[in-house]
Amino acid sequence: MTPEALEPDRRDFLVVAGNAFVAVGAASLLWPFIQQMNPDASTKALSSVEIDLSPVKEGQAITAMWRGKPIFIRNRTKEEVQAAEDVDPAKRRTRTAPSKAMRTGSCSSASARIWAAFRRDSPWAINAAPTAAGSARATDRLTTRQGAYVQARHRAISRCRLTRLRPTPRSKSAEGESDHGRLDFQLHAEIALGQMVR
């Protein structure tokens, strides 16, 4: 092609620069198309739930919905707490570290898994919905961990207040900053005992 006859440097630079700008434009145009499939603001706002635990007496349990799944919250009697404590550690079908548990894939459900562990002497137990793998899970009491936490695929929030448990990071609000790219991590959620949670 005859254009070569012209000073190649100047022509090449212009054309290369122009093409580079077009490429950058095309790439940045792509981002909104990808991002629009991520959870939108209303979904993120609904992704946290505040649960009023004051009417739940000892021995009672309630079911609340969170992210489309039921959460079972039970106010255990002293006997139940003691019974769980007395279980031989060797026989406990629980996990010591949730992250490890996730890696071993003990929850077979593909959807967000939610479970919690509490101080041994805490009367509160929160369990996720029974998975296809077995409804036995619903009765599992995961009590080995100090403190309470809720673990899920994405940013897990449950709006509660610090109690007598050891200080843990405050849960962040749902509609606040988003966190692109971090898929699995834990947040410590503190359950208020017998308090109206707002």
Partner: protein, 443 residues
Amino acid sequence: MGGSTSSYMPKSRWGKWFDERLPIFRLMNDSFVVYPTPRNLNYLWTTGGILTVCLVAQILTGVVLAMHYQPSDAGAFNSIEHIRRDVNYGWLLRNMHAVGASMFFLAVFVHIFRGLYYGSYKAPREVLWILGVIIMLLMMASAFMGYTLPWGQMSFWGVTVITNLFSALDTIYNGLGTAIVEWLWGGYSVSGVTLNRFFALHYLLPFVLVGVVGLHIWALHVVGQNNPTGIDIKEPSDSVPMHPYATAKDIVGIFAFLIIFAWFVFFVPDYLGHADNYIEANPLVTPPHIVPEWYFLPFYAILRAFTSSFLGIPLGQYAKLCGVVAMFGAVVIIAFAPWLDTSRVRSAKYRPMFKWFFWAFVFTCVALGYLGSKPAEGIYVTAAQIFTLYYFVFFLVVMPVVGLIETPKRLPRSITEDVLSKGKGGGSGSGLPTGATAAPEVR
């Protein structure tokens, strides 16, 4: 294409392997890289590339919007607000799609006017031209149904008015029009049932469009592009390979177009729309003025020009039917241009008499657009009737007659002669690019 041999040589072994099984890269190369393009095309010839970008943009934004849109009468308006407020970049995607429709029509009107001026509809480009009219009809159907989807006041009432037009057929055969209208509606008035099916069709038609555009480009490549002189490519110096010459020009045209597009998307996104469409559809409240989107206004003006009388001719009960026939006829008549125009000269550049009638036609279209936005009363109706008359006179009288009676200017012998005789001497070379393959078939 069309008889010339392909000079494509795959560079890699893999390239050669693939070329023996599905020569798509050969096709791309022959059609869009080495393809001989007239060297004298002006920027009006970038509208083709611009329109392709528009179609792709509408499909991409449309598909992602459809991920959030709900095509029910209860959900539609709310889902649009959800897109505007909550969906990540939803406001941007929605603006792009709405403005994109307007930009699509802006580009297509320039594209068609260009074709009318330079005689691109004349032999051997008749099929190309007819495919173009089919594309425009598909665009109009798509846009009409798309505008229904937000289910605002204008959406609802615009659909009600336009679908009701088919009842004009009742004057020809009793009950036929009503049957068609109720078939379109899926009921006895416009409702969520209508909305749902319009959504399905609105999603479908753009892909039909892609197919027809493919045929359009194929038909173009068989006969080759027209050019401002209207003289076909005769010798190799008349043309340049499409890449990098035409592609470089196309991309400038595309980006210049994107500037206008972006200005509307980011700064005046609702300017080309109507405020009433931000009010939820209400069958009990009729807006004071029902108007379609701006690109339909000329046709709307033609429709409403046929009142009880047209320029003194009484129409009686046939007024509505005449209006409907005229409105559709205004689009269909464009397809007949290749046979209506008797001139042996293609380009209006060399047709001094036709040129004036052409610009009067452009003015007519703009005037009809303005009149379409006005209430159908008083002087607006009279003006609309006059301009409607000229619209059809342009095709039915001007094209046949002027071609016979005018004296065209002297044509250049070839594209090269025309280009070289222009102004002062340009670059050093004779302007003969290497690499152009054989010219397409010249009839």
